[in-house]
Symmetry: C3
Subunit: 109 residues, 3 copies
């Protein structure tokens, strides 16, 4: 058993969840915030059998798109923002960041 932790953009999260549900996977959604852009994104927890990893990764790849995002003009990103303040910069955001964790024990109550 594995627990997939996938951070995706809000714009893709509903379609991604639809496709996962259609395919019979089970998932739980967390409303999260990106550390750099400080904007809302979505983290999915998807518990799957070991042999289903490639299927789930393929579904995420087929649904999730990379995009770019302009940083806000007065950046709140961090202390060393001299280079950002005043000059908005274009930041690439990948379609998804996926962590696969080993589940040592699984229980349905």
């Amino acid at each position: 058993m594995k627990l997939v932790v996938a951070v995706v953009q809000d714009q893709d999260s509903n379609v991604l969840m639809d496709v996962l549900m259609d395919r019979g996977f089970r998932a739980t959604k967390l409303a999260t915030t990106g550390g750099f852009l400080r904007q809302g994104n979505t983290t999915l927890l998807i518990g799957i059998e070991d042999h289903e990893i490639d299927d789930v990764v393929d579904i995420v790849k087929s649904v999730c798109r990379s995009r770019t995002q302009m940083t806000p003009p007065v950046s709140i990103i961090g202390r060393s923002t001299e280079s950002y303040v005043g000059q908005p910069i274009e930041v690439p955001i990948g379609g998804a960041t996926i962590f696969v964790l080993d589940v040592t024990q699984f229980e349905r109550v």
Copy 2:
């Protein structure tokens, strides 16, 4: 050390947290959403010693109840919802879904 990730129904989450606290366990609560029913549920993160797994699972089993839930009449569940739209169906929801993860390092700062 293990990290227990337990997805439970909102109705059980407060009592479950009370019992865990009473027993001296520590836990952190996340407000989450179910992928299928798209309704709010609760995910608990519970860091425990290896020998405490059975205790925690027993507490979850003693508190969390399975229930059924009617899907909304116009289902938003997914693309293949032809079978749901118009005819609400009764969906079983288990008391809890529990993932136990291995903690390779633990620090209290």
Copy 3:
């Protein structure tokens, strides 16, 4: 690859995120709730290379402060609160609680 799950106090979370971003780390923020005090806190997910664990733990240690918090006068903490109700008590809250998890597979889509 490791996934660091760090529960920190809200008061430290923005500065901590600033420092992590400045240092080039990537992180995702979850708004969470403490099980005992039932108050808001912050959980960070930080995916890092194995050799970066000590750096990240050091950053958390340098930013996050322990504090104390008075329990509310009529405590909602749990069933065995006889000792708390009416007599607020001072509860120590550590700077951070850190769980390091092994990542068996990582994908950027």
